[in-house]
Structures are given as C-alpha cells and as structure tokens.
Symmetry: C2
Subunit: 443 residues, 2 copies
C-alpha cells in the first residue's frame, strides 16, 4: 500500500478539508500521530501540532512532551503544548481518568479553533481503532449509531487515517525510518480496548482470517444503513409531529399505527432527554387516560385527549401545565393558587379572578392551557354549552387579549375560563360542603 497516495485519495474522496484550511494535528508522539504528521508534511498541508501532557505517567509523560517538541522542530512547525492536572479534574468532576483526559483534550482543541489557531482538528484514528470501537459497542449492546463506527469527518473533527490499518502505519513508519514513543499503558490489558486488541482480535483472526477486512466493510455498510434508517425516521416524524410554539403535539391514533412503534417512539423522545428505558412508559400513554404523563429531566409527555403533548417542564415556557393537587402554579400569564375550604367558612366573591367550585365534582389532575378553537363550556348561569370563541367575542376582548386567555380543564371538561367565568356544572350550590377556590394573580 502506498500510504501517502491513499491518504490523499481518502481526503479527496471524503472531502475532508478545503484548500487553505489550517489543520491542528493532535500529536501524542505515538506511532499513529507521528505517521499522521509525516503524511501531512509530505502532502504540504498547512499544519500546527498540539500536544496534551496529561501528567498521568510521571517521567514518561514529560519524555513524550519533549519528543513532540523535537518532532515539531524537525519539521520546522509550531507546536502548542498544554499540561493538565488530569487526576484533579477527574476527582472534581467525579469521572474516570480516561473520560477526564478525553474532555480536557477536546475542550482544549476546540478552544484553539475558537481562537483561530486552526480551522480543523486532525486525529490519527485508524481502521483498527474503528474496528475496536465497533466490537466494544457491539458486545456492550448498541443501536445503529454504535455500528457505523468513527466517522471520517464530524463537525470540525477529521480522521484522515481511518482507511489504514495499524500494520499499514507501521510499515510506512519503518520505510520512512520514523521514530516514535511507546505509551507503556498500551502494553497492558488494563483497558477493554487493549484486551480486545491483544486477546480477542487474534482469536477471531484465527477463525476468520479476513475478520478485520470484513468488519471494516461492515462499518461502511452500516454507515449507509444508518443514513437510510434516519431517512425513514424523519419520514415518520414529519408525518407525526406538529410543532406548536415550544411544544410538540402527536396524534395518538396515528402514532399507534407507526411501525416499528418502540423504535420510532424512542427516536422521537430521545431529543427531550428521555432514556431508552422510558420508551415503554411512553408507549403506555397511547392506551392511558387523559392526564397521565411521563417525565424527563427537562420535559413532560402528557396524554391529553387524542394527543401526546411534549412540553418543557419550565413553567414559563409550557403551554400545557399539569396540576395534580392544590397549591400554587406559575404559568405564562401569571400564577394561580388552588385551596380547598369548608363551605361554611367561605364567602362567595364577584371577582372573576376568583373561581369557587364545588369540590365534590373535582378530580385531579387538571390541565392549564391556552384556549383553542373548538373549546366549549357551560358559562355560569347558562344551561347550554357555548363555544369559548363565541364567549370571548361577547366579552368584547381585543385580539391580543384573546390570545392571553387560558382555560382550566378537568377530564376533558373546561371548568374555568381563567379569570373570566366558571362552568355552570361545577358551581357552588346550597348543598355544597367543600369548596375549591382558585385565584388568578396576574403580574
């Protein structure tokens, strides 16, 4: 294999960078990054080297830093070096040292891009890294994203050596008489990746001599499969999702017919911080009553009549708020307070901002939401139903004022057009023993 020719071809075929781009090379000093540097030099790319000293291997870490500094001066290129207190960072963030090193490394690289030191980051990941990642994901359990491996280009991260095997890099380095440093942590089977590399892959190769080539070809196919998978998912979501302000509304009947249901549901909810394990709960909402919901750290999925409504939890944003008990709740147009009291202790008020309802008829949860076309209720004092739209016209509200009207709904019935009129069916009568008092406070 003519590595340099293949390197240039791969860059062109995958359109990895544009003429004039300055490239930040992540250089540890190991075989892979030394070969990457040499290839970039040979191809006359405009490069700057970057080396992270994670200070995890004592003198060896410093040896590596010195080596990379010398490498840069050999090629007459700039090298940026940063020392990290990786262990302290890991401890503080309560993450593993490996994850910490990864975070520190990429955060620094991206800050260098932000500071216009370069346009893209080049890393020396090669085909065998990709195969190892594939195998780890596969054995740990994965969807399609874990099968398509590392991408040649992802945003500003470029892996121009993905086409080459470790053996290809080694042969190139030997032919060009390149020097590199060995990372002693590579030699042990301490990490899963190393175990795979040194134990499992050789066993597989005995059984399937072409296994590395087969797995590399799988990765190519899985990349296409993933792309088609996402095309199908977006075909479904286009049909299913109706964006309304900061909410997403999904018609229950349509969603129930989507196939394969669980995977489509998961692809919809994962953008709102729901976990794979919550998929079944959300599917359960398809056959549940109005008012049931499933919640993530940022969103709630609420069953409301024939809709699932994905709404942000933050009250100031929500268009559908769930009220499950008495207390106070903030919403876009103000705040409402719900309290229960004995009828004997209560004096009825004419203030439309205070609703008094017969608690006998009340069952939580309520839904607090803006009124919409098609809403109707039985205005206090009337024996027949009236469209809310008609009611608002009769109240002579301006178009702007109408937009700010919310309703309080219980079991598909509007019990209060908030701040204006309660429903006649829930009014306090002589036989009322307990009263639910709801007060609107506007800012």
């Amino acid at each position: 294999m003519d590595l340099l020719a293949s390197f240039k071809q791969f860059i062109q075929k995958e359109q990895l960078f544009l003429p004039g781009n300055k490239l930040l090379l992540a250089v540890s000093g190991g075989l892979d990054s030394v070969v990457l540097t040499d290839c970039c030099i040979a191809a006359c790319y405009d490069i700057v080297l970057a080396h992270c000293n994670f200070q995890l291997r004592g003198a060896e870490s410093d040896r590596d830093e010195q080596f990379v500094r010398k490498l840069a001066s050999k090629y007459n290129k700039t090298v940026l070096v940063r020392k990290f207190d990786t262990e302290a960072y890991a401890k503080e963030k309560k993450i593993s040292v490996q994850v910490a090193a990864r975070e520190l490394r990429y955060n620094w690289f991206f800050s260098l891009l932000d500071a216009h030191e370069a346009d893209l980051v080049f890393t020396a990941h090669h085909r065998d890294d990709n195969i190892e990642t594939l195998l780890m994901n596969f054995f740990k359990g994965t969807g399609i994203a874990g099968l398509r491996g590392i991408l040649p280009k992802q945003n500003k991260l470029v892996r121009p050596l993905l086409f080459a095997s470790r053996a290809d890099l080694q042969a190139y380095a030997e032919a060009r008489d390149l020097q590199w440093v060995e990372d002693s942590s590579n030699a042990s089977d301490k990490y899963a990746r190393n175990y795979l590399r040194h134990q499992l892959v050789p066993v597989l190769q005995e059984l399937y001599p072409q296994v590395s080539e087969n797995l590399a070809a799988n990765i190519q196919r899985f990349r296409d499969i993933e792309s088609l998978y996402h095309q199908a998912i977006s075909m479904h979501t286009k049909k299913l999702l109706e964006v309304k302000g900061n909410e997403v509304h999904i018609p229950v009947l349509k969603l129930a017919k989507a196939d394969p249901l669980n995977t489509i549901v998961y692809e919809i909810i994962k953008d709102y911080r729901f976990s794979p394990a919550q998929t079944n709960e959300v599917v359960g909402l398809l056959t549940s009553e109005t008012g049931k919901y499933v919640q993530s750290s940022s969103h709630r999925i609420l069953r409301n009549r024939k809709w699932l409504i994905i709404a942000p939890l933050a009250a100031e944003d929500a268009q559908h708020l769930l009220i499950e008990s008495t207390g106070t709740i903030n919403f876009k147009e103000g705040k409402i307070r719900l309290e229960e009291s004995a009828a004997a202790d209560f004096t009825l008020s004419a203030d439309p901002k205070i609703a008094a309802l017969d608690a006998k008829h009340i069952r939580f949860p309520f839904i607090l939401r803006p009124w919409k076309k098609g809403d109707y209720f039985y205005p206090l004092g009337m024996q027949k139903k009236k469209k809310v739209a008609r009611f608002l016209i009769d109240q002579k509200l301006s178009a702007t004022a109408k937009e700010k009207v919310w309703v309080l709904e219980m079991n598909k019935k509007i019990i209060w057009v908030v701040g204006m009129r309660i429903d006649d069916r829930f009014k306090v009568t002589n036989s009322t023993k307990s009263i639910l008092k709801i007060t609107l406070e506007t800012a």
Copy 2:
C-alpha cells in the same frame, strides 16, 4: 424463569400460530427439541413429530431415531421418520454435507406441509443459536439482514423458543426430568458454530458478563432497524423505478442524486441476480455512454440516453435488445439478420423488410426497441424530420399493427423503422463502398 409461561406468552406476543393449526415439530432428539416437544404437549397444542435420520453417524443416528420414536409413543403422538442418504445427495449436488442435510430436511418438511400433514413447522432454535448466527454473520461480513438474526416466524417456519437461552432449556429439562440424546458432533470444535459456542463466547463473557443479553437485545433493535431500512429503500424505489411491461426504467439524473447511492443501487439490482460486486459497475453506467451495459445471469442493465433499463436477457421477453455486431437476433415480433457486404456485390431491393444502409455511418451498438411517443426520424426521401407517430398514421396502420412496430436506434438516432422505412441520413449513395444489410423475418 417459568419456561412454559414464557413460551405461551412469546407465542401470543409474536402471533406465531392460529387456533386450530396443526404443528409439525422438527425433533432430532437433542435437548432443544425434547424441551420443545414437552412444552407443546404441556400447552395442549395439536402436534405431529418429524425426525430426519441423515445416516451420518452410524449407530448413533439409529439410536436417535429410536429415541424419537419412543418419545412420540410416550406422549402418544404420531411421528414421521425419513432416512436420507445425505452423503450421496451432497456428492451429487456438489455441496457440503451440512448444506445437504439442511436442504433435505426443509424440503421434506415443506413436502409434508404440502401433503397437509400439518400447517406450520416448529423448530427448536433458541436465543443462543440466534446469538451464534449473529456473531458468525458479523465476523464474516454482513448487511442489516445478517444482523437481525433468525426471525420468530418466516412464512411457515416458526421458532417458538427464540426467547429462551440454552441454560433455560437445560433447567426446564432437569426440573421435568426429561431425557434426551447427545449428538457427538456437537462436542467437538469441528464447525465454526461449535468453535464460537465453546471458545469465543466464554472469552467474551469473561470480558462482558452481560454479553449474551446485550447481543439478544441488539437482535431486537436490529430487527426494527432493518424494518426502517426497508421503508427507506422502498421510498427511494417508489420514486425511482418505472415498470414498463417486463422492464424497469430508472431516470439517470434522479438516481444519481439518490443517497446513499451504492446501497440504494444494490437494493434495486439484487432482485435481478446482480451481485454486490456489480454495484460499482452499475453506478458507473450513470456516467457512461448510451449502449453500455452490465449483465447478470438473468438480466441486463442498459444505459439508454437518460435512462437505465433493466431488461430480461431472454429475447422473447425483452423490450430493449442490444445489438453489438452483425449476426441474427430474435425479438418479440420476429428475427432480424445483419450482414455487411461490398457495394459492388449488392443489388438494392424495394422490399421494406430489407434495409440497406451505408456502413460508413454505422457504429455498434444498436438498440432494438418498440417505437414510442416523441420518436422521430428522417424518412428515406425526405430532407426534414418526421415524428414516427405521424409516419405510422400516414402509413394507415391499425392500432394493433402500430403496437407491433419496432425501431432500430444507433447513438440516439433511429436508423430504421423496422420493416417499413430507413432513415435518409444512412441511405446508400453512389459513393457507398460497404453496405450493412438488415433483413426482417416475421414468423
């Protein structure tokens, strides 16, 4: 695990058979099929046992047959037994003994279904079989079809134990004190499957204790991914393919924009016996000249102007025949013969079934095809072009006769309205040295 309860649940969830169905149980006498039989008896299903004696293991094969006969009489059920000369069959068909056994087995089962001995075939494949299949496909290289494993139901083949692990079956058999026979070929690492089972899976389990569960969960997800993949593929093929009689026409410009191109092309051509390796050649047709083609054992994909045309090779079916040299070619309406001769030896004929063209203007390949709307040519004796449709009206052809008119095309020009009129631009003149004579012979 309550295996019997899970068995019934799995059958119900996957809708594996209908009430009243008679089930043919494939029973080798090994653990898996003995447990399957016992579960079906316990669930009161209507079963008949079927045992293949492949006569590959001498006395052991006969021992197994006797065992299964006794098993059937223990449960008071019918058993169908068939002896096969597997080695002779394998030799005759030039296939491995394993493939031969598989073919014989399923051919016999399906012939039993055809003879109304039963409605469905039940086999005892379990979760670990599925995982082994997944691993073998994965290491040998696969697309999505090889990842989703064995299906619980495929046509009339049902695998009702796919939910259970080998250990689950073993526990059930021991609890119910069931007897079974061991296949001595199972004990060796002779076959890849056994190697995986006995060598690789234990190594994996050491590294990833949950690996079997993870892989089983992968299979579930991959099944959904495959289904979405096919949805996306059929979205593309619906847009791209135009079926015309027994041909499929694909607009080149549209296909070139399809993404991911190679996978979509492969999914289109694989139904016409093209191999994955031919995908790149077919993609090459997108930038080739008219007349280039790629061929499988049954079909040809022909570049014709702005179209790719997938046509059967059998001449009597084809609507687009490629002619690459002089000689004779059969088509739907008869036969045409092409021959070249010196002008000096030639006498022009008035027979419209004989075309004489100046060979100087001729470059193979030709395409022989039915005329279509929009076709035009320069009828012999005219200096300007004329629509073929208009020409046929002037010829006073009946509607049926018009449907049988074909044209011979060269490099996007019609050179002959077959059996009727040649194109003026290709006529023989005083300066003609060599003549291409084309004769139409109708049945």
